[in-house]
Amino acid sequence: MASAKDRQGKERVIKAFFFGTAFISVVVLALIMLFLFMEGLPTFRFISPGHFLFGSDWYPTDENPDFGIFPLLMGSVTVTALSSLIAIPLGIMTAIYLAEIATPRVREVIKPMVELLASLPSVVIGFFGMVVVAPFLQNVLDIPVGLNLFNAALMLAFMSVPTITSVSEDAIHSVPRELREASLALGATQFETIAKVVIPASLSGISTAVILGMSRAIGETMVVLMVAGGAALVPGSIFDPIRPMPSSIAAEMAEAPFRSQHYYALFAIAIVLFLMTFLFNLAADYISNKHKQVGAATL
């Protein structure tokens, strides 16, 4: 009897311990958010949110400073959009190939390679973009600046392809075998099976993959700092230099005087960035919950 009580007590301790560890990340996130808002919100004492978001001049250290982040916001939006345009087809098609078409041996080789791409430090990708891709673009396309929107989007695509591929591949892989067999048994070709059965069945997983890939691109700092060029302009073409939000924060935070207007404004940019990635993650969560595939019957 006593031993059973002992065991229950032990069980409770273990439970509490694991609850505690799981709770740590919640606490940390809450603290970071609190800090972020505490340091960022004072910005709106000296500039209205409208001016901040839609002002077209970013001259934080001028004698009459301007804190308009519209060019930075547009920089982030355009680079994320363009990199998604490159990364989504590449990532999803790679995933389809790996899950449905490739022979096990090919898969054994390619899958780790794609995953290895994810483990490349972003500074290495940035350096590659700066030293190899930028001069290449300048020489081949004869454009004035190789450090531009296109280059940054390309480098970010390299970084989001592994995320998109591995999450979509898992989604495609988990489509029940009966579905494929039924489709093939009805006389559909392999392509028809993939296009009309497998992809629709795994669409929620693929959507999640895409959104996770995009939120990786929008928050990435080192790469855009190194290869986006850094001009605070709303881009007119894909070969214009841009200055996305993370690169502004990274480049200017160290020099901004503590608790100055510039310092607060940089934290306010971080809030905008946080809200954007938060929305992306929320959307991913919503889609994957709403269209959850619970067995073959729900299709």
């Binding site: 970013w58 700066m130 930028a134 001069p135 190194m226 060029g229 001009a231 005087p257």
Partner: protein, 271 residues
Amino acid sequence: MKKIIYSLAVLLMSLSVVTAQADTTITVKGSTTVQPAMQKVAEAYMKAKPGVNISISASGSGDGAKALIDKSTDIAMMSREIKEGEIKQANGNGVTPKLTVIAFDCIVPVVNPANKVKDLTPAQLKDIYTGKVTDWKDLGGDAGKIVVVSRDSSSGTYEFWGEHVLKGERVFAGALLQASSGAVVQTVAKNKYAVGYVGLAYAQNKEVKPVTVSGVVGSVANVLNKSYPVTRTLNLYTDGEPKGEPGAFITFFLSPEGQKLVAASDYVPVK
């Protein structure tokens, strides 16, 4: 276990010794441009003299002058010379500002080695950086859009360039802002249409070509004989001749060891 207790005790004792000795504090206020060199030298000095604590706060040359006038600092860092009005205010408070030059600052425009342009005037540089001149053919080079590379707006180098070349005007928004002088060199080296500006140390890099300003080469010699136009001194001001602990610190600043650290912060040593 004994060992741990013993080492803890030693640690505590050494801590208390340090706190007991740190009775002299030198306060330093002023220019953010001088600060990097000040930081390095102060760290070395505090290491060499454990009893001295140096507190540095950098918010601008004007604040340095203000602090000197109201006697709230031992040393004022200034990247410009003290103004007449400030001297008068100081004298009124019984303070006699005394200048010690600790370094020179010299910024050199650089272009890609493939660029034919060898010389630019300060007026041309201003037009380039404010976006008024956009093609190299207007400056005697081969036709091609000028790619303007600048430092981030919060850097001291940017401020210096803004004051001396742009005369307070804004760098136009199309300029590529780079986070470090190294990145400026890298960008200019890889782009045949680019122009940038960097401290003297970075301009020695073989991958970029330094441009003369109104015919004068940016070099240590020309900085010292004051013929190079984009140059200035980095100054420390004290109340009267530097003496006591602040005086010893400034002497250390001018010693070979201190001047080596000045050079390591990319400034031109005075000695």
